[in-house]
Symmetry: C2
Amino acid sequence: MSANLTVAVDAMSGDKGTGVIVDAVRQVLNARSDAHLLLVGDPDEINRHIGNNPLPQGRAEIVPASEVVNMEDSVAIALRNKKKSSMRIAIDQVKSGRAAAAVSSGNTSALMAISKFVLKTVPGIDRPAICTTIPAVNGHTHMLDLGANVDCSADHLFQFAAMGSILAQAIDGAQQPSVGLLNIGSEDIKGNVQVKEAAELLTHSTLNYIGFVEGNEIYTDRADVVVCDGFVGNVSLKTSEGVARMVSLYLKEEFMRTPMNKLVGLLAKPILRSFGNRIDPRRYNGASLLGLKGVVIKSHGSADAVAFANAINIALLEIANDVPSMITKRMNQSLSSIA
Amino acid sequence: MSANLTVAVDAMSGDKGTGVIVDAVRQVLNARSDAHLLLVGDPDEINRHIGNNPLPQGRAEIVPASEVVNMEDSVAIALRNKKKSSMRIAIDQVKSGRAAAAVSSGNTSALMAISKFVLKTVPGIDRPAICTTIPAVNGHTHMLDLGANVDCSADHLFQFAAMGSILAQAIDGAQQPSVGLLNIGSEDIKGNVQVKEAAELLTHSTLNYIGFVEGNEIYTDRADVVVCDGFVGNVSLKTSEGVARMVSLYLKEEFMRTPMNKLVGLLAKPILRSFGNRIDPRRYNGASLLGLKGVVIKSHGSADAVAFANAINIALLEIANDVPSMITKRMNQSLSSIA
């Protein structure tokens, strides 16, 4: 039997509303005849967006949920007081085995806390990490952690490396993905204590560890996986967004500066559009919460249908490659090689 | 009497050689009739580059130095075994009062160590920090620390904030520069212990503290000064370089893709050049080593004459605004307000 390609989709979270999520579900179901999707949320709201254009029969189901976790909700509120939220019930579907993955555009902290509480981490993983795909000069890089863990020990960084390596295998089909440790210099003497200790652990592991990488090398093809603590990873990712936005704005301003520039801009429009597509963050939407007994994907809060569909597709890839079991297996190996 | 606008220039360090530095010196002396520059290094080498085109009489002098700190030299070697290096003698000029600032394209770690050893830090500053100017959507942002201090306490972050604020006053003429603390979310509960404690200190200070800023906000006009520890700052800065380089490459590739695109690219050339100038890192060359009893500016190792001249101009601005004394004054105020 092939994998249970069922994904529970939180249809109520995200800034763009349920309509965008229903559109994304439709796109995925049309493209993938093997996928099965559960839309979790208010049935009236979901049906209103399905309208007169029914989803493929037998491959889409509505799972009712009467509450929604808001962006302002604290983790405690989300966890204790909103047990009927679309986010919680989507994750419950993974726990019960009805779905193999959950996707949500909601509050990251709440999604992480609920996932940890309901699904638990796999043995050998202390803390789940958030991993996303980042465009690079020739391909892309997987980077983690992106904000789930602010203070990390060397062991945590080692666990992130092991998980990132498995994710890269699943998504890219790479046999031995190269793993780099983010640092502020390539010399051995640089960096903080945790990074130096993690380098030691990685050097003696079976991972394809290639040493320290610097911030600029995230965007080259130096490493398939870049590992760092969640504070550094989050700052780095958001810095990148800031730079990309500023550069795009500068480019637009230059092409608008004079009537002549505008004319050239019209001619250059298809070229600039093709350039824009290459740095379009929607292509990379869908961050993996790794280290849980189940697949959980966080979509960007402002994801549109194309971006949300991409997050669902990542969930399907992780199910097909059984990422949680692969992480469990890897951690068992690491533990037994230490013992 | 006006400030002693004398800058000691390390003429031997940097990847591009002495010629570039002599050119930069010439540019600055031609543009600024009040500036006085000391070229520190091998007189033969310097004179060879000056050639038959003498520098403005009375405003340029050669100070001999027989050694050079290499990029590979450890801090210990640079500090103990190279007391006649161009870097050391440039800083010695500041110590003796012959110059008010030193500029070098050499090894950052060595420059920081020698500066600390020779000049000492001003009272109230435990560790000097590296601060640079970063382009932002409407203007620029001053960011520190960029790698001098890997592990920072809340007190250190507070000192960085105070120093960055004074630098922004000096360079931009802003009366009360806004100061933000780099964090992974704008909520009070986010971040690591040091950042939360630093926020507490800043809230009760006389600085114009505006709260937490996220990575993307470095490139907006949210804060004039962004404060972080050296690990995070270095990763963020290098990440930005990586993104900018990748984006430029993508843009070039799109304009080269087809003969038609190339033709449009020819038409768009002045626009693209003007765009390139706006993100040209040379415009921002020159990082300040703040917190020392003297002005020390680190130029990028691969700086060309335009970029190196920019670093000298920053030194002149810091001398004119007496940044070291302003930092001393500010720290005295802080200490007495605590006492």
